[in-house]
Point group: C2
Chain length 366, copies 2
Amino acid sequence: MNNKIEKIQRWMQQNNVDITLISNPKTIQYLTQFYSDPIERVLMLVIFEDKDPFIFCPELEVGSVKEVGWNHSVYGYQDQEDPWKIFASQIRSRKVPNQVIAIEKDALTIDRLESLKQVLPSSQFSVNAIPMIEQMKLIKSTQEIEKLKIAGKWADFAFNEGFKAVQLGRTEAQVAAELQYSLMKKGIMELSFPTLIQAGAHAAEPHGATSSNKIENNQLVLFDLGTMWQGYASDASRTVAIGKPADKLLDMYNVCLEAQLAAQEAVKPGIKAEELDKIARDIIAKAGYGEYFIHRLGHGLGMSDHEFPSIMKRNKMLLQKRMCFSIEPGIYIPGFAGVRIEDCVYVTENGCQAFTHTSKELQYID
Amino acid sequence: MNNKIEKIQRWMQQNNVDITLISNPKTIQYLTQFYSDPIERVLMLVIFEDKDPFIFCPELEVGSVKEVGWNHSVYGYQDQEDPWKIFASQIRSRKVPNQVIAIEKDALTIDRLESLKQVLPSSQFSVNAIPMIEQMKLIKSTQEIEKLKIAGKWADFAFNEGFKAVQLGRTEAQVAAELQYSLMKKGIMELSFPTLIQAGAHAAEPHGATSSNKIENNQLVLFDLGTMWQGYASDASRTVAIGKPADKLLDMYNVCLEAQLAAQEAVKPGIKAEELDKIARDIIAKAGYGEYFIHRLGHGLGMSDHEFPSIMKRNKMLLQKRMCFSIEPGIYIPGFAGVRIEDCVYVTENGCQAFTHTSKELQYID
């Protein structure tokens, strides 16, 4: 049995949980190394308090499960079969009395819980496994941090290639294409999210998408990107200058940079998540841009680019060594311009280390 | 009010539903044109039986919602706020008595339903909106079919570019990189799923991923790919020959092709979904490969590459004009080789039309 599954079994003993059902594909990967997005098909890892776990998956995934070295049982079902009946018969065959079942309440949908209740009518699906799993994932191991560092190096590579691809008259999408092709040529086929490149006023929509807008002179251009490396994500943002942006744009940039640097500098074990947010937010507010910083300072990072916890007001969590999260203040003035500067970091003994090292001094691209 | 929302309101009247909550981002796009993946944040479309609908979203999406031309209310929340409280106060302000609420049971997670129940304790979340929404999406409009055709043309373009990129000694990933770069250069930035290229025995894992395996002589190489066009997906597979594959490989190919052509030829209004599956499966079984065809014949296609319904045994649904789905038999012999041939089609008056037109005769690449 691997250590992580044993840890869950200890939690189950302490909490009188007989069975834990893991249905989030990323959590299954975290616990077993096996990753697949089953889309509408059913994929579950089933952990018993005192029996061998098993993976239940579509028949066409059984080979892949075995290939990652999963040395417990794996059961497949065919498309025309009812997965829930087969699943329930495997559960019943273990003869676990009084089944108290823990589920991932943020991953399991209502219809699936209804199906489970129908085939396992005497079980209680009363326990939420999420707080325990979030705690497990929160503090990264040395190996995990190594993977996050490599993912970060590829993000740095991508910035460099992206900045080289910027040309007046090229579209945001064309720059993204060159950047992503550079990564793919190096074998980096998976991004943690679609590369976001936004020029000028378009960057004022922090959740917009890369468009066919052309890059013009004297603009700021925002890059937000991330890669995957062996199941771990990077996520970083830089904003660069084309030509000679107006003073107001430079001011926005400098304020955002000051906020980012101050918050990153303040990271250390024992500081509260909300304190970091306040440090950045106060600097931006004092400069008169408070109303334009419309999101939290950051989010956790690990096997995906958005993880627990949020670095924001009201989160009083004390940061600990080897927690990983983003620090990404932004200033977005609708119809005018947007700036965001972001590094993800891991907490060290006395401070933090960033996963990305691309310069945060404003870079001018001719 | 747009037609689709009015249609839902009529369904609500007939089924005594006061409020419908739409939480699947693709369904929100289908109904409003606005698309965003909010990840862990909350995004909902709220439809009232006799009042104006509203969109509830993260503050940083409000601008994008307005940009798509949504001319009803939109309410944002900031990251540090409790979204559910704000959401509930908007619902309460409408003063709808006896709230029977319909939800998307395949999209809403347990924790979100618990949050909703907490802030709206007198509401009943008893109705599943999914069967109604699936029915709505099932028959495509002429405009939707036009978009699916364009998405299909880009899939054909991608095959052509991918086949040109195949070279002995190149890896699967390198071919995928060239293919995807060709698409991006044409402005096609979004795929409906990551391009799958598998050579030789690797293709026997129908849900494996593109790897760094090298393409060798006398192999079959499987391509499965899809693009997005204005919110609509394509999905198609072809298997090509490198050099002179052994007779056994050619036999697998020919059997799979015969099955694919026969099933596609049989599509017409009034035939049952399961009959198409049987036509293809019988051909493959008769040739001795029955145990190696381990998935359903096909799946629905529309705003995503896997939609309702499944074309498989036990699905007695009668096919109707303008339904869209894949026909993709496959033969996978573990450790040896895999073949899949797939077109997505739409049902016409008397038969069907494919969205992709790349030749299905075995193509030899030197």
